[in-house]
Subunit: 248 residues, 2 copies
């Protein structure tokens, strides 16, 4: 074991969440990282969840804490996320860590956006002055990736469910990042010749769009794989942060 | 007096800052709000500034604290801003308050963006589904106004100094917000017929652009005036916040 321990707080019975949590646990264990899933019933009081998180915050053996999203609708998710110590917040979803991202001095970058930036870097995709179009404005993917691409000197457009004539915007994209979760939302005619396409939400009509792209991520295995790798990097970054008083 | 007191921390001798501070003080006094400007030499240690801010944080008679920007280059401005209690942060520039803005649950909205949203509202400008183009990506104007317009269901594009072919983007704007600080950056040919134009940086060739616009703010007196009004509203909001323990 490597003195890294991840705890995942799970509330309720969302089937997709269970799959993601298993994937995280499996990946951690492959790498010799301890991973504990702490499960609560979906009607547990928020105070009990927050009390548990407080315990994990002060437990020196725990270096990373994830609150698995989505939480059932009866909770204020941000309130629970914000109870995680920002230096164990390996997802980067606390208000303060998102604020640091906004001001361009992140302590941690949420795993999916970090994974996307890694894919762009690994594939030597030039960003400066390029027009990036992001579809989706979530706090955990859309807004963070917009901020990161902005910091890399892209001109950035953010589209969403209320955007009129989505194709008008997507056709302008040098770099298109789609994080909606709607199969075949993006068809061949909506993509510019030579575009770079990152499919977070499995939104792209891959077979037909691919021939137009200079680079495209396949719907399975690419962004998801990079997200898990980024989560592991986040765990390792927090482990190695020397300034944390509780590792003295 | 109205039990509202603003303290403004001033470091160094920036002439423009002095003008802004005087304006704020004058406006406060007109409204019966106490306003104290606390000045430091430009080489004072950051610890002394932060110690002063700590004192103001715990002083019950002080309800709002501003660190006048820009600070001289030898300071980490964000570190000093972040020493302000988030419930006295009437500028809304602390990391945590900017994080709240990102997640769409602001405690406070920075004065200039709040003023812009007020101008749009007062003039009944429809936002949903409109394409807003923001020029400038500062943490205190560009990024906050982008997030606020996004929350009002605009499609939002953020341009900046590295944007290639700025006119290509500005010509698409239903709503154009320019916050660069470069006279006549935006000329007539760069604006769409019928656009709404908000001139934060005095960037617009006003006389020539005006005839094309359905609405435009003049370079003087509009956004600036609304910014001061929004600052006063922020001061009043913090005064009236019942949940603050130090007003018990």
């Amino acid at each position: 074991m490597r003195n890294i321990k991840l705890c995942i707080i799970s509330v309720g019975n969302d089937e997709q969440s269970k799959i993601y949590m298993k994937l995280k646990k499996k990946k951690c264990e492959e790498l010799g990282i301890e991973c504990e899933i702490i499960s609560f019933d979906e009607n547990i009081s928020k105070d009990i969840i927050i009390k548990k998180i407080d315990e994990l915050n002060s437990n020196r053996s725990v270096t990373g804490i994830i609150v698995q999203l989505p939480l059932p609708n009866n909770y204020d998710a941000q309130e629970i996320l914000d109870s995680v110590d920002e230096k164990k917040d390996v997802d980067g979803f606390t208000t303060n860590n998102l604020g640091r991202l906004l001001i361009g001095k992140p302590l941690i970058i949420p795993a999916t956006p970090r994974g996307i930036m890694q894919i762009l870097e690994d594939n030597k995709i030039e960003l400066e002055g390029k027009h990036s179009v992001i579809i989706g404005r979530s706090n955990i993917v859309g807004k963070p990736i917009a901020l990161l691409l902005l910091q890399k000197n892209c001109t950035v457009t953010i589209c969403h469910s209320k955007t009129k004539d989505l194709a008008y915007f997507t056709r302008q994209a040098d770099i298109l990042v789609s994080s909606v979760g709607k199969k075949n939302l993006i068809t061949k005619d909506m993509v510019k010749e030579g575009a770079v396409v990152i499919d977070v939400g499995k939104d792209i009509d891959y077979e037909n769009v691919k021939p137009k792209c200079s680079f495209i991520t396949p719907p399975f295995g690419s962004v998801g794989k990079m997200t898990i790798q980024s989560l592991i990097k986040n765990l390792e970054d927090f482990k190695h942060e020397d300034s944390f008083s509780y590792y003295e």
